[in-house]
Amino acid sequence: MFELFKNLGTWLTSGSQWAGSDGIAHRLGEHLQYSLLATLIAAAIGLPLGLLIGHTGKGAFVAINLASFGRALPTVGLVVLVFLAGGLSMLPVYVALVALAVPAIVTNTYAGMTAVDPDVKDAARGQGMRGHQVLFQVELPLALPLIMTGLRLALIQVVATATIAAYVSFGGLGRYVFDGLAQRDLVQVLGGAVLVAVVAVVLDLLLSTLQRFLFLPHARTDSRGGTPTRTA
């Protein structure tokens, strides 16, 4: 075990390991690209959906149940299925990552919306605010901490799961994990795993810092956020 970690140090610090198309720098860039794009797409789908359900109170049962279905979706199976249906492209990877991220975003956004005090909403309406004004000026700001928790949760899950891109020939840090498995090169596997974990933790810290600066009045991160889950 000690030997493994000693070799990990050498692996992580050697200059040649960082350079080139199979270098850490390039793989890191790919991994960030996959993760951020997938999370953005998921946010573009999940946020409006969560807001709508929370605002209108309609479809909550269906959405929450679909979200728990989503948690059961096996990522490996989904990637293979989309690959067999549509051929080799990044599409299978993005479909799987988005499918993983959307439930976390929808459920947390919805939870944030329902946590808004009904009296506050009534007061806003009483002052003559319209539906969309109530949504954007009252509910959304109050729900933001939980929404952010959902986004952070989704991002962490996506970063860890983007490893799967390497299974269908693409790059990212998963390359080291899958190549290391095929070559039984555990140092490479550990290196890839540590880098993925570091990316996840750093991105999470960045988002929580951002959250603190942007939304000072509601700065406390909400611990009632959904539980993280993993499907790969």
């Binding site: 198309s21 020939s169 190549d179 095929a182 070559q183 090169d185």
Partner: protein, 309 residues
């Protein structure tokens, strides 16, 4: 398919390491007198492992069919991974028997040792194998690694042999399974023997949909495939010749743990080795890959048809 039952699984979860250690201990006690001849016993049943490509699974199920006929209890664990993963599992006792390939196995054990003649290679294998493992007589069927290009690529760059690849150094992309990057019959040997340097090594799969798809699409110029793949002829791909004999002869050879190698197993597998030809194996692979039949069914039907089961 895995036929493990719930109970079997529960049992396995609780006791696999203990069982492996225990059975190893008992056999080495009982058989301490017997060296290579005779050796172990297949009475407790044999677990056959297979690597992560079609042909190896077909071979695993062929072994299973003939061993079952010989009265040995077998369990097949398909698709375990690469040689680099499977052989340590064999040493550790997670599996007992593995369909292997002479040259590739020898290269794994002692790189550079792979001579071309199957008889010589068998001796070299016996010497190179770690204690506790042995190879049984090799069969007549063989399957080699090969490097192929599309007809168009061959014409464009004037490629007929592996030596021609060096003239295009830094220009061509090779696609192969990740382990091939570090293997002698792969990026390492191509560089050493032929001085080939690729522009990029793309990690794909072992003669599977990724590497063949990438070759068709033009994502890679050179692909590492197996000679027993009917797609090579069907797609009119060009197999690059190997004038410097980098790629050794690859007769199929059973690799088995000493503790399980008895005469029953030896005889059954030798019979299969004598009957199965390269052409037949190629056809069996195609039935699985192209006709989507189960390797298990294909193997069982073959064994029955040839009076092996």
């Amino acid at each position: 398919m895995n036929r493990r039952t719930l109970l079997g699984g529960l049992f396995a979860a609780a006791s696999v390491p203990a069982l492996a250690a225990c059975s190893g201990g008992i056999t080495s006690l009982n058989e301490s007198s017997g060296s290579t001849a005779g050796g172990g016993s297949s009475k407790g049943g044999i677990t056959i492992g297979t690597a992560n490509f079609t042909e190896n699974q077909v071979l695993g199920y062929l072994y299973a069919a003939v061993l079952q006929q010989a009265g040995v209890k077998v369990k097949v664990r398909p698709n375990l991974g690469t040689r680099e993963i499977v052989i340590p599992a064999l040493k550790a006792g997670d599996i007992d028997l593995l369909p292997e390939y002479q040259g590739a196995l020898l290269n794994y054990l002692a790189p550079k040792d792979a001579s071309a003649e199957p008889g010589t290679m068998q001796n070299a294998l016996t010497l190179a194998l770690p204690a506790g493992l042995q190879v049984l007589p090799y069969g007549q069927a063989a399957d080699s690694d090969c490097f192929v290009v599309t007809r168009a690529t061959a014409q464009k760059y004037g490629l007929t042999s592996l030596a021609d690849l060096a003239k295009q150094n830094g220009r061509l992309v090779i696609g192969a399974a990740p382990e091939v990057k570090k293997r002698r019959v792969g990026a390492v040997g191509l560089q050493e023997v032929y001085g080939v340097q690729f522009k990029e090594f793309k990690s794909l799969d072992s003669d599977g949909p990724l590497v063949k798809g990438a070759l068709k699409k033009g994502d890679v110029d050179v692909a590492n495939l197996f000679t027993t793949d009917t797609d090579i002829a069907a797609d009119d791909w060009v197999v690059l010749s190997d004038p410097k004999n980098l790629i050794p002869s690859q007769h199929i050879v059973p690799l088995i743990a000493d503790r399980k190698a008895d005469d029953t197993v030896r005889k059954a597998l030798a019979r299969l080795g004598n009957v199965l030809t390269t052409e037949q194996l190629t056809q069996l692979n195609s039935q699985v890959d192209n006709d989507k039949k189960d390797p298990e069914d294909v193997a069982a039907a073959y064994a029955k048809q040839h009076g092996l089961a």
